[in-house]
C-alpha cells in the first residue's frame, strides 16, 4: 500500500483543504495539520477557454 495512504489510515493526517473552511477547522481541532487554499471562482469564459484548450491539448 502507498506510504501516504498508510499514514492517513493511522490517523497521521496532513491535509490540504480547498473550499469550505469549516472542514479545515474541524480537522485541525482533531490534531491534524491542515493547509488552507481559498477557492476563487474563475470567470466562466476563462474556464470554458481552459476546458477547450485542455481538450485540444490531450
Amino acid at each position: 500500500m502507498d506510504e501516504k495512504l498508510k499514514s492517513i489510515l493511522k490517523g497521521e493526517i496532513q491535509a490540504v483543504n480547498v473550499g469550505l473552511e469549516i472542514f479545515a477547522d474541524e480537522l485541525e481541532s482533531q490534531g491534524a495539520k491542515v493547509i488552507r487554499v481559498r477557492f476563487i471562482r474563475r470567470p466562466k469564459l476563462e474556464k470554458e477557454l481552459k476546458d477547450i484548450l485542455d481538450i485540444l491539448g490531450s
Binding site: M1, D2, K4, L5, S7, I8, L9, K10, G11, E12, I13, Q14, A15, V16, N17, V18, G19, L20, E21, I22, F23, A24, E26, L27, S29, Q30, G31, A32, V34, I35, R36, V37, R38, F39, I40, R41, K47, K50
Partner: protein
C-alpha cells in the same frame, strides 16, 4: 418606534454559504435586531426572505450572482446600524487568528511536502482541476462537492486507482480515517467494524449506533453516492474493501448504499466471493434481492446492519426493545388523536430515504422529493401532501445557502408549518450532531417549537432521532434534554423512530409485528 427593514444588494459578489451564515448569526445577536439574513439571491433564498418578512423590492430584482443583506430591527436606526455591521463583516478580508490561506493550489502543494489528504468542496464543475494535481502528487482525496459529471468521476477514480490512492466521493459527506472525522462525522469509538459507504449520513448513523452500543469502527470510507451505480461499477467500494481485508484491526465490513445498479451488484458479489475472506453485512437500503451466503448478510436498515455487525464480532446487540416501542407508538397514537398524516423533515438524505422505505412498506403511499417511485414525487417540495417525507438537504433547498445540518433556519420554518397543520398526526425529524454540524441543532429546533406553542396548545407529537454521541461537541445528552423539554419523543435510531411512527398509524397487529421484525434485525 416602528420596526424597520433595511436591505442592500451587492452586485456580482460571491461569498460561500458558511461565511454568510456566520454574518447572519452575528447580526441576529446585535441589539434591537429581530431577524437578519445575508445570502446569495437564489430563488430558494428569496423565498425564505419572503417567508420571514425580509424581502424588499430591490432584493426581488437581484440575480443569483448578487449577494443580498437584509435586516429587520426594532427601529430604523438599529436596522441601519446592523446593516452596516453586516456589510463590514462581509468585506472583512480574513478572520483574525486564522492560519494564512493560499490563493494558489499549486503554490500550496509545492511549499508543503508530506501532505497526504486533500479535502475538496468546490463547485462540482471545478472539482477535476483541483483534484487531479493532488492525485499527481500522491495525495488521496475526500471530494465533498456535488454536481461532478459521471465522466469526471470515472476519470478521477481511474487516475487515483492507477496510483494506489483513494478518491472518496464525489458527494462524500463523511469519512472516518484513522480515527479522524472528515467533513460531517461524529466522534465515535474505534473498533473492529470497517464501513464502506456510498452515503454520508448512512456512515454517520451506522458508526454512531455501533459506538453507542460499545462496538467501534476501524475505518469509514465515504465512496460517493454513485459508486455502486452501473456507470462507476463500485471502483472505490472495491478498493476500500481491499484495504479493509488487509487491515488487522478490521474483523467485519459493512457496505452501505442505496440500491446498486444490477451490473455493479453482480460484480460486487463476485468480488466478495472471490477476493475476500472476512465477514460482510450489506445494507443496501431499498434493494429487494436476497443472498444466502454464510459470511454475507443482508440488512434491511442501518439499525439492523449495526446489530448484525455487533453479533458478528461476538458482542451482544441490545438494540430495539419491541415492547417499549409498541408502548411508545400507543402513546403517540393517543396524542395524535384523529389527525391522519405522517410527516418527516430530514437533514440527512439517507435517513430520509430509510424512513421513506419503512413508512411506505407500512402505510402505502408516501410522497417525497426523493420518492421511491416517480408517481409519489411531490409537485412542490415546499408543500406536503398526505403522508410526506422531505429530504431538506436536496438541491432545491441548498442552492446558495448552507446545508440544513449547518444552518437549520429553513427546516425550522417548515417544522413550525407542519406542527400547525391540522391534518398532521405526527412529525419525524433527525438532528445531526458532530463535526461541521450546527453548534446547537436541538436547541434551535426546540426554540422553534416553543415559539408556536402559544398559538396552538394541541401540537401533534414530535418524534426525534438525535444522531450523535456524548463525545460530540454538541453532546448527545444535552441535545436530547433540550428536545425532551419541549415534549418530544426521542429514539435511539432512525429506523426505530420510523417504525414507531408507522406503528402508531397501523391497526392490524400482524402488520405491526411484521414491521418490527422486518426492520429491526429480528431473524
Amino acid at each position: 418606534m416602528m420596526p424597520a427593514t433595511k436591505s442592500r444588494v451587492i452586485k456580482n459578489v460571491f461569498k460561500d454559504s458558511m461565511q454568510l451564515m456566520q454574518v447572519t448569526e452575528a447580526a441576529r445577536g446585535l441589539p434591537g435586531v429581530i431577524d437578519a439574513a445575508a445570502v446569495m439571491a437564489t430563488q430558494t433564498n428569496k423565498e425564505l426572505l419572503r417567508r420571514t418578512g425580509l424581502l424588499s423590492e430591490e432584493i426581488e430584482e437581484a440575480k443569483p450572482d448578487d449577494l443580498v443583506v437584509s435586516v429587520l430591527a426594532e427601529d430604523e436606526e438599529k436596522a441601519n446600524d446592523a446593516l452596516n455591521r453586516m456589510i463590514s463583516l462581509i468585506e472583512k478580508p480574513m478572520e483574525e487568528g486564522k492560519q494564512k490561506a493560499y490563493i494558489s493550489l499549486e503554490e500550496a502543494l509545492n511549499e508543503n511536502q508530506g501532505l497526504n489528504l486533500g479535502i475538496v468542496s468546490v463547485p462540482g464543475e471545478y472539482a477535476r482541476e483541483v483534484v487531479v494535481p493532488m492525485l499527481q502528487r500522491g495525495i488521496s482525496v475526500h471530494l465533498f462537492s456535488d454536481h461532478v459529471s459521471v465522466e469526471d468521476e470515472v476519470y478521477m477514480k481511474d487516475y487515483a486507482l492507477e496510483r494506489g490512492l483513494l478518491l472518496l466521493g464525489p458527494s462524500a459527506g463523511t469519512s472516518i480515517l484513522g480515527g479522524k472525522g472528515i467533513a460531517f462525522a461524529n466522534s465515535v469509538r474505534r473498533g473492529p467494524v470497517g464501513i464502506v459507504s456510498a452515503s454520508g449520513t448512512g456512515l454517520q448513523e451506522l458508526s454512531v449506533i455501533l459506538s453507542r452500543a460499545g462496538t467501534g469502527i476501524s475505518q469509514g470510507f465515504g465512496v460517493g453516492g454513485r459508486d455502486l451505480s452501473d456507470q462507476i461499477m463500485g471502483k472505490m467500494t472495491k478498493s476500500s474493501i481491499s484495504i479493509l481485508e488487509e487491515d488487522t484491526e478490521t474483523d467485519v465490513v459493512c457496505i452501505v448504499s442505496k440500491p446498486p445498479g444490477e451490473r455493479a451488484m453482480t460484480e460486487l458479489l463476485s468480488f466478495l466471493r472471490e477476493k475476500t475472506r472476512k465477514r460482510y453485512v450489506l445494507c443496501l437500503l431499498g434493494w429487494e434481492g436476497n443472498i444466502k451466503e454464510e459470511r454475507i448478510k443482508i440488512a434491511p436498515s442501518l439499525h439492523a446492519a449495526a446489530k448484525f455487525c455487533i453479533e458478528m464480532v461476538g458482542g451482544e446487540a441490545e438494540l430495539g426493545d419491541f415492547e417499549k416501542l409498541l408502548a411508545i407508538a400507543e402513546e403517540i397514537r393517543e396524542r395524535a388523536g384523529k389527525r391522519r398524516f405522517l410527516r418527516g423533515l430530514f437533514t440527512g438524505g439517507t435517513l430520509a430515504y430509510e424512513a421513506l422505505i419503512i413508512s411506505s412498506q407500512a402505510l402505502g403511499d408516501v410522497y417525497s422529493n426523493i420518492p421511491i417511485s416517480p408517481e409519489f414525487r411531490l409537485r412542490d417540495s415546499n408543500v406536503s401532501y398526505m403522508h410526506t417525507i422531505v429530504d431538506m438537504g436536496e438541491e432545491e433547498f441548498t442552492q446558495g445557502r448552507a446545508h440544513p445540518m449547518i444552518d437549520p433556519t429553513l427546516r425550522n420554518i417548515r417544522v413550525k408549518e407542519e406542527l400547525l397543520d391540522r391534518d398532521v398526526a405526527e412529525l419525524m425529524i433527525d438532528v445531526m450532531l458532530g463535526y461541521a454540524s450546527h453548534h446547537d441543532p436541538a436547541g434551535s429546533v426546540a426554540k422553534a417549537v416553543q415559539e408556536i406553542r402559544s398559538s396552538k396548545d394541541d401540537l401533534p407529537p414530535l418524534l426525534v432521532h438525535v444522531c450523535g454521541t456524548e463525545e460530540d461537541k454538541q453532546n448527545l445528552k444535552m441535545q436530547e434534554k433540550k428536545l425532551k423539554e419541549v415534549g418530544s419523543f426521542i429514539f435511539d435510531t432512525n429506523a426505530e423512530m420510523s417504525v414507531a411512527a408507522s406503528l402508531s398509524l397501523l391497526q392490524n397487529e400482524e402488520s405491526k409485528i411484521r414491521l418490527l421484525k422486518g426492520y429491526l434485525g429480528e431473524e
